[in-house]
């Protein structure tokens, strides 16, 4: 019975998820509530372009928010492993040192996937009508997983560096707020000066535009390249930061 340590850790993370309803609520139900709120309560107030159904406009953005909402739980979980000495316990054992972190990242990505599948189901019930073909859908899946992976490593680094679980939760807040200042809810060109430039150049906008293009069946390779570049960059920074904090902090 020699299961890889990463799988053992992943199994542990999933047990946690099942026993911690608050994190499931945040990761899976919050995005669905956001969807209801934006589409039913505010959708009519936003002008996103003639003839475009708001649910079709908002779904890609809320998909991205769903990824971000899951991150708070990951940061807190990683930090409590760190501050309670569980990471030290694994570090003095003869197991591959990164396994505990890989476990957290994979669990984070899988939580994202569950949240997104649930959200897309709800979106369809609310009248979402994408024109995406199979290849486009695969593109969406790839983009979401890549983002989840990149943001997951960054969150693990935040969780390792934070002093306490509370500060770790706070550290993930910017990641949750960033999508609001992107083209997720309303197009960037409708925003005021300053905010508009910020929305145009921040990483989430090209990622959302890529997903939006794919779901509309009209993918934009320019957006896609920018989006992938951002994700690879974030993943790299997150991974290196996490690795060095993991090695140094005891």
């Amino acid at each position: 019975m020699s299961t890889s340590p990463s799988i053992v850790m992943l199994r542990r993370n999933f047990k946690h998820l099942g026993r911690n309803p608050a994190s499931v609520f945040n990761a899976v139900l919050m995005p669905i509530l956001m969807m209801f709120m934006f589409v039913y309560m505010m959708g009519d107030a936003f002008d996103v372009g003639a003839g475009i159904d708001y649910v079709d406009y908002a779904t890609p953005g809320i998909l991205l928010m769903a990824v971000c909402y899951g991150l708070g739980g990951t940061a807190v979980a990683v930090n409590s492993d760190m501050t309670k000495g569980i990471i030290n316990r694994f570090k003095v054992m003869d197991v591959s040192r990164g396994a505990v972190l890989t476990g957290h990242v994979i669990a984070s990505v899988l939580t994202n996937v569950i949240a997104i599948v649930a959200l897309i189901g709800v979106a369809f019930l609310m009248g979402f009508s994408p024109s995406a073909g199979l290849v486009d859908w695969l593109g969406v899946a790839g983009m979401v997983v890549l983002l989840g992976f990149a943001a997951g490593w960054l969150t693990v680094a935040l969780g390792l560096s934070a002093k306490s679980p509370e500060t770790a939760g706070m550290a993930a807040v910017p990641l949750v707020l960033l999508p609001f200042f992107s083209s997720a809810i309303i197009p960037a060109e409708k925003m005021g000066p300053g905010l508009r430039e910020f929305a145009e150049y921040q990483p989430f906008t090209p990622i959302i535009e890529t997903i939006r293009g794919l779901l509309a069946g009209t993918p934009d390779s320019g957006d896609a390249i920018t989006a992938v570049a951002w994700c690879v960059g974030i993943a790299l920074v997150g991974y290196l930061w996490a690795r060095s904090t993991f090695t140094k902090r005891a």
Binding site: V8, H16, R19, K84, V92, D94
Partner: protein, 332 residues
């Protein structure tokens, strides 16, 4: 500092003696240094722990105990000196060191969302060398955790958590175990349980390196004790060696008048008087016989003390005697 001390103190002989060459210590530390920024935490430590014995590192908060454990267990890199654990260099053979050690940190590192059984199973799954399929059940029984085995660890008491933590450390059957303040924060009963668990481990031939703030704990468990003060070892030897350097157990008598104190000092000639507090300190082993003798002498001369107490030396006395300052200075 005492050089040659018999490991057979209290009649204990290392059961591991045949298995390992007598001259290979389980832990050998020489000139160990560690600095955080410009703060020197360990200023050159030398110590040796023989296989199958218990070594206690005694010191107040902030002395550098946890840092020592962290370096010896490969969690932190040393800034100077050499450390060999189980014959392996911690700097170049960290993996081999990790294979031979078990570590229980200062705070019970158990996964609170998992049950006791799941915590142990997690260790089994991560430990490829474990072949004993029944080890989880065995450990639960041995540590009297069977009843709570399927409850989440978050519901455990402090003592149960420590036991679970130690049980998790034992999954890989390590030959050298590090225990960082294993009883800090435990109630007296749980402390005694922990002590008896540690004694059982030693009986199995395991080498134990423990840190503690309690002189009594070091005295109860350790074959050798080293006293750590501000990153330096200020004394090293057996419990008896240390006790010889500090004021021993004594009886403290407090009187109401100076005249009474005078008379008492004349009949109890080996006492040390303190005129300011009107007290007389009389050396005693604390046993009923010697206490009765002191009381009988007082009765004989129709003297009565207002207060009578038996004092045993604690960490403060050790520090006062060895370093000239008490633990407060370091702790705050």
């Amino acid at each position: 500092m005492s050089g040659t001390v018999s490991a057979a103190w209290r009649g204990r002989v290392s059961p591991d003696a045949e298995a390992k060459p007598m001259n290979t210590p389980a832990i050998a530390v020489s000139g160990l240094q560690k600095t955080f920024g410009d703060k020197v935490v360990l200023a050159g430590i030398d110590l040796e722990v023989r296989a199958g014995t218990v070594f206690a590192l005694l010191g107040p908060n902030g002395a550098g105990k946890t840092t020592t454990v962290n370096v010896l267990t490969t969690l932190m890199k040393a800034d100077g000196g050499t450390v060999r654990v189980a014959g392996h260099d911690i700097a170049t053979e960290a993996k081999a060191v990790r294979k031979s050690i078990g570590v229980t940190g200062q705070f019970a590192a158990v996964d609170e969302l998992l049950t006791g059984r799941e915590n142990l199973q997690l260790m089994v799954d991560l430990n490829r060398s474990v072949t004993n399929k029944g080890i989880v059940t065995e450990l639960l029984e041995r540590f009297e955790l069977t009843e709570s085995a399927d409850k989440p660890a978050s519901t455990y008491s402090g003592g149960m958590r420590r036991k679970l933590d130690l049980a998790m450390t034992l999954v890989g059957s390590p030959r050298i175990i590090f225990l960082d303040e294993p009883t800090t924060g435990l109630d007296p009963r749980s402390r005694r349980t922990m002590w008896s668990i540690i004694r059982d481990l030693v009986a199995d031939g395991v080498t134990i390196f423990l840190t503690t703030q309690y002189l009594e704990e070091a005295d109860q468990l350790a074959d050798r004790i080293a006293v750590l003060d501000q990153g330096r070892l200020v004394a090293q030897g057996t419990a008896d060696d240390l006790k010889r350097q500090i004021p021993g157990t004594h009886v403290r008598l407090r009187f109401t008048t100076a005249a009474e104190l005078d008379s008492a000092a004349q009949i109890l000639t080996d006492g040390t008087r303190d005129d300011e507090s009107l007290t007389l300190r009389v050396p005693s082993d604390g046993g009923t016989k010697s206490l009765r003798a002191v009381l009988a002498r007082l009765d004989e001369y129709a003297l009565s003390a207002e207060e009578f107490s038996v004092q045993t030396p604690d960490l403060d006395d050790v520090f006062l005697a060895l370093t000239g300052h008490n633990t407060e200075v370091v702790a705050k």
